[in-house]
Symmetry: C2
Subunit: 456 residues, 2 copies
Amino acid sequence: VDLGKTFERNLDRYVEEWKRLLSFPSVSTDPAHDADCSACAEWLARHLSGIGFAARLLPTRSKPCVYAQRPGAAGLPTVLFYGHYDVQPADPVGDWVSPPFEPAMRDGRLYARGASDNKGQHFCVLKALEALVREDALRVPVRILLEGEEESGSAGATAALEEWKDLLRADVLMVTDVHMSPSGAPAITMGLRGVFHMTVVVEGAPNDLHSGEHGGVAPNPAAELARLVASLRAPDGGIAVPGFCDGMLPATETERALAAAGAITPEAYRELTGVPPTGGETAYPPAERAGFRPSIDVNGLLSGYTGAGMKTIIPASAMAKLTGRVTAGQDPAACLEALRRHLERSVGPGLRLSIPQKGVSGSGFRLPVESPLVKTAMAVLARVAGAPPVLQWGGASIPIVSALARVSGARPLLAGFGAEEDRIHAPNESFSLRQFRLGFLYAAELLGELAAAAPR
Amino acid sequence: VDLGKTFERNLDRYVEEWKRLLSFPSVSTDPAHDADCSACAEWLARHLSGIGFAARLLPTRSKPCVYAQRPGAAGLPTVLFYGHYDVQPADPVGDWVSPPFEPAMRDGRLYARGASDNKGQHFCVLKALEALVREDALRVPVRILLEGEEESGSAGATAALEEWKDLLRADVLMVTDVHMSPSGAPAITMGLRGVFHMTVVVEGAPNDLHSGEHGGVAPNPAAELARLVASLRAPDGGIAVPGFCDGMLPATETERALAAAGAITPEAYRELTGVPPTGGETAYPPAERAGFRPSIDVNGLLSGYTGAGMKTIIPASAMAKLTGRVTAGQDPAACLEALRRHLERSVGPGLRLSIPQKGVSGSGFRLPVESPLVKTAMAVLARVAGAPPVLQWGGASIPIVSALARVSGARPLLAGFGAEEDRIHAPNESFSLRQFRLGFLYAAELLGELAAAAPR
């Protein structure tokens, strides 16, 4: 079967259906759009039924998930495909060239909120599945989970995953909610970091004290918080919290070489962010620090007087917001605990430390470079995109991916065709027909290869 | 002359006049009270003329100062008496038992805003001067400066001091705007610290960055600010800024012993402030830390996200408010400069440090324990109060006192009868007739002794 030809023949219809999907303002963060989210989920379930899947809605404590499945040949690996039908808010609406929920094609790109993230990135996969079913070429068992709260924390789905364990059991967790390499080459995201967060408060006197009378006598919560935050890192930038790095999976020589090969230059990093890559551990190159090293980041600080001029006080309290990023092998709950213990042990006499908010959002993971699954995906990507794929190790977290991998027992495979110019989360989001076609072909060929080689 | 009898005979009139002075709502921080401040200054000038002084108003760029003088015998030391006629705002007015600007006597205490700070504390001195003039017993030349902006920074007077140099030239700078010992014993404030302030900003990327993608790669301004603040102090709590302590006058063994004798216990400190005295340099007892050691205090911190929950950002910038307290011998401008240099040298690569606000408010000073002036004042205090006086070294700053001492060439002598129960700056401020009488007798006897002994 020549799926390229199938794509060309059906493209007009694909685009019309994709436009219909994009016309739902399924903004999960805004309760005013709850009905739109439900309508979008119902449309998707009907659509999946129409292309040969047993589809239904799985209720959660908030937005429903769309679930679908189709059995395959015995002995072949089961693929669980994850995507999300919710989108970011469209504000500022006035900055859109065409209305965000009235999809418009211009110069080969479809413009709409969600055109890329994630409706475009998952609808091309659904069209590939449809094409395989119609050609009677879909041999692997496929399960589909499209959630409705990725943009607002995935709380409903995450809480229900254990309950859905049997529905989700799979061998490969296919995720396309990721980007190509900044160079434009196709890419596999080989790992993500886990994340936890914590709010730390240091309290002293019940009220602010006069810093003249009491400076150097009363303990200063703001100065102590600064000292505690500084104590989290060694002079070389490494994390100095005892026990934090327990279990951490060091990068292999191969991983380090591949990460270096895919890395952008310090100049390009500065161009992208406005700062040189001078944070973190000086002993490791920037690409390794994001991909293979943990990090504790200060997200916010607040204490005492912050207005114009001066106010001569020793503040009654000081607050820091921290997030920790942990790599494969580290247990984020144990890391949070190690940090809590370090802070509580380190706080100076006369002050009280408390942690009024804390939580773990997800674990990190890393795929082995040598795994047959990665090799298969690389071959498919190279063939489809006509360029050698890059392996990339991200520093960010997609908490539900780690949770889904754990519950389903599947190995995550993250490859998609998102690009910087899609402007996801911003006005005038778009996805090109070229990207849509790459996603279609990648999914179709990958599912074919998995049936042929049954790799893990 | 028995000034005790003079006091008793005239007390009713003194109180009526004191009440008149207190009835002016001379709140310097509130422009709505500008006319009240002027009226109060004019009343004082007329009053000083009436009791035998050549009095006038000295205009400044804001509130006028009341200036008065009376020549004395040749060869005797000139006394410059400093006070202020402005008061703190009366808010919250509803918490006052009697209205703040309708002075009311209850149980031997006069209740009104300014009853103690500073109208009561200076008016008893003016009444002593009046009594001495009437008895023809005022022999030393006396100059009086009553400013109208002490509660709002003394900017007008401070800017004009150099211009008034000839008017202010004196040998002894008499200040009663201070407290007795917490034990209730009369006290001489033997030193104050100088103060400077600085706002420090560390900037990174032009916008917040995603802390997942960039954590451990991009430099974090909030973490760096914490490290810089922590770098200001050595592990023993001492200041670790090169050059900061240059010129500092170490405490003598006598000063240390006297400070220890006047010190409150750690338990009493905790009772007073809510925290144990565990800040600053562990090698020095608390009373020495406030009196003889410099301090750098964090007054405020602000960076990134400070609301509920988490936000995964590397903040674009971070800000700290710092004040430095310096002791006798240290040049606050040089200390500010040393701190600036240390911060600018220490900031990590990829970040920009700036100091958008900074300034010196005043120097510190310390009186020699052995000086005849101190011995004379101690003898007077002991006789008047019937209890041995305590020498105390304060950690706070009265910037105009150092400036006045410098411009006038006079040695500052700080002794007054303020007490915790006066509740200055709070609702229901008061000053007792007993305190007023102590202030009257102290001033009258001191001026007599200065004429007799001409001590320095």
